[in-house]
Symmetry: C2
Subunit: 342 residues, 2 copies
DNA sequence: GGCTTTAACGCAATCGATTGCGTTAACTTA
DNA sequence: TAAGTTAACGCAATCGATTGCGTTAAAGCC
């Protein structure tokens, strides 16, 4: 076996030289075009393998007017640090990454601050660096979605599906999940149920809050503003919120939090106030992050199939890109009963 | 103001037409070349802005033989799910992303399984889709690093700096951090200190284990195999490890864990066994994830400046790419004394 | 053998930029 | 006014691929 490695084969031209044919023939041979006899195809393919030749994807994409890349953006509100504190995002990224790879797409990541939105959109899609966008959190005022729609950029948003929405989203059943959780608290005999959510303008928080209200109403319980807090999806803010809530509403006997990270952070002020979980205060979170089942007490929570959700987002976006009609999808959620509210 | 939007300006040729000059002139005007008088430069730049023209980065990069992109790979060992369970990774990604943006680089992400390593390397760098690589966890057997070195691909690894290493890495002082932690446990009067780490072949775990051994030795304590477990960086495995350890070593009065997620997962089996934290068993973790300060009891831990670490990795890689000499960096760590071991 | 058919492959334009070099016209100088 | 200088800009090659169309030569047919 004489692997005469005279010079590295970097381009099709190199390979064409070596094979004694033209670049066109190499291109067609590698892509299996009919006009090249199988014998020649195999010969050239073999040569390419031998010299570890790989098509330059970027040149190919330029020629083919595509990018074979999907950009993922996290439009994190300014000041929010949920992004770097919540494993939720890692799980969804795992699903997105795996699914993109099976389709041969690259993943361009942008952990952008709110300010950078317009720039990000233009820079990624108008530059043709990405074929489409995956948006992992709604902008609070939906400016971004409007911008994306105007720019005619294919995109899929993570979030609950609303009846009248003009864009496509994939997300868990926020309303249903929260309803199950609050009803479970009510069924456990709890009467003073607190709510801790993210920013009020977030659609997810909004839906979960509505579910909370509806569940209380159906149980003939009145709303009590002292037991309702809209804050930020971070442990710090959640902790502060619970501390304040305990002061304002000492009879609190249950807590529904819009994320597991917030729920876990609630344990500390509760214990410091002498309340046992779940005996004195039952707690239910949201997401079912890996730690939820393995903390103490283990956390009851609404499980979202987030990894699967990431994969579905990709599938949906690719359908959009291929011009097939795609539809929003509401993924089922599941109440995980654990020790914090058995 | 007559914004006659006849047709969208997508390419330099469009813009050149509009301005009545050649493509070359537009190119030079936009890049501020001296041979174009300032008057013309400003005129063309203004026109470009007016029509929201943006240079096609991919074409530009092809021409300039660069990619302006850095790829981040997570060589997760098969079966390990740390990737999608540990906020550690999110923090480091935040630093990487922010720093890359300030330098105008794109971020290509690959959450690859071990199998895909060779493919990933070839596909990203040999295809010239990325100028360099950031590696977020060492392969257990360092095969990958060898492959990268052979392929002459610029890369920077996250991890502790070893005296004789041939490549460049950025990481916290694993040995020093662990030493501080175990010494703090000893100073608190603990005598039966357990160790829970990741895979034994992981350099970080190895260094922390050596620090643990050295600290015990210096305190004239013998090693006890029943109090040492090498497992996986996930809450499930950590929990199982602690349960087993409590059976085998009932006198356990302290626990040092190689990640906060493992430490938090240790709380549950400890409590179930009737041990209070920190009264009966003190616990120290590693990383200082956001939740650590806000759980109950709040977690003592070794803080790594992970966000900053991500930024340093990028800076180091960019230095490498510019041909400047770059050096490995050991970032300082800090013992955060909280309630789990005050 | 001459003509048509067709298999196999090459030429050259193209994707959207950059850049060395050549060209044009205005300006300077003798 | 003719020759030389220089400012301003265009031509065309180039990065590494793809592809419509044209060309060549062998094969088929009468």
């Amino acid at each position: 076996m004489t692997t005469g490695s005279s010079k590295p084969i970097k381009t099709m031209a190199d390979l064409a030289n070596l094979a004694g044919v033209s670049v066109s023939t190499v291109s067609r041979a590698l892509s299996g075009h009919v006009s090249i006899p199988e014998i020649t195809q195999r010969k050239i393919q073999k040569l390419a393998r031998k010299h570890h030749y790989r098509i330059n994807t970027r040149a190919q994409n330029l020629r083919l007017q595509r990018s074979n890349t999907i950009a993922v953006v996290f439009p994190q509100a300014q000041g929010s640090r949920r992004l770097t504190s919540d494993p939720f995002y890692l799980q969804i990224m795992g699903g997105i990454s795996d699914e993109l790879r099976t389709h041969g797409y690259d993943l361009l990541l942008s952990l952008s601050q709110e300010d950078d939105w317009r720039y990000t959109i233009q820079s990624y899609v108008l530059d043709k660096r990405a074929d489409g966008l995956l948006v992992l959190e709604r902008d609070t005022n939906e400016q971004v979605i409007t911008a994306l729609e105007q720019a005619a950029i294919p995109f899929v948003v993570w979030g609950p599906v609303l009846p009248e929405q003009s864009y496509i989203s994939v997300g868990g059943d926020s309303y249903g999940g929260a309803k199950m959780a609050v009803e479970h608290l009510l069924n456990s005999g709890r009467r003073h149920i607190g709510f801790i959510g993210g920013d009020q303008t977030m659609i997810e928080t909004h839906l979960r809050y509505r579910a909370y209200c509806d569940a209380l109403k159906e149980a003939d319980r009145a709303l009590d503003a002292t037991k309702i807090t809209f804050t930020d999806y971070t442990p710090e803010r959640a902790k502060a919120a619970v501390t304040a809530m305990l002061k304002a509403a000492p009879k609190l006997d249950a807590l529904f939090c819009c994320s597991d990270v917030m729920a876990l952070a609630a344990f500390d002020p509760l214990r410091q106030a002498g309340r046992d979980v779940p005996e004195d205060v039952a707690v239910i979170g949201y997401d079912d992050i890996p730690l939820a089942a393995h903390c103490h007490p283990s956390l009851s929570t609404v499980r979202q199939e987030v990894y699967e959700g990431g994969r579905v987002m990709v599938q949906t976006l690719l359908q959009l890109l291929q011009g097939e009609g795609a539809t929003s999808q509401m993924l089922p959620v599941q109440l995980m009963r654990r020790d914090s509210c058995p």
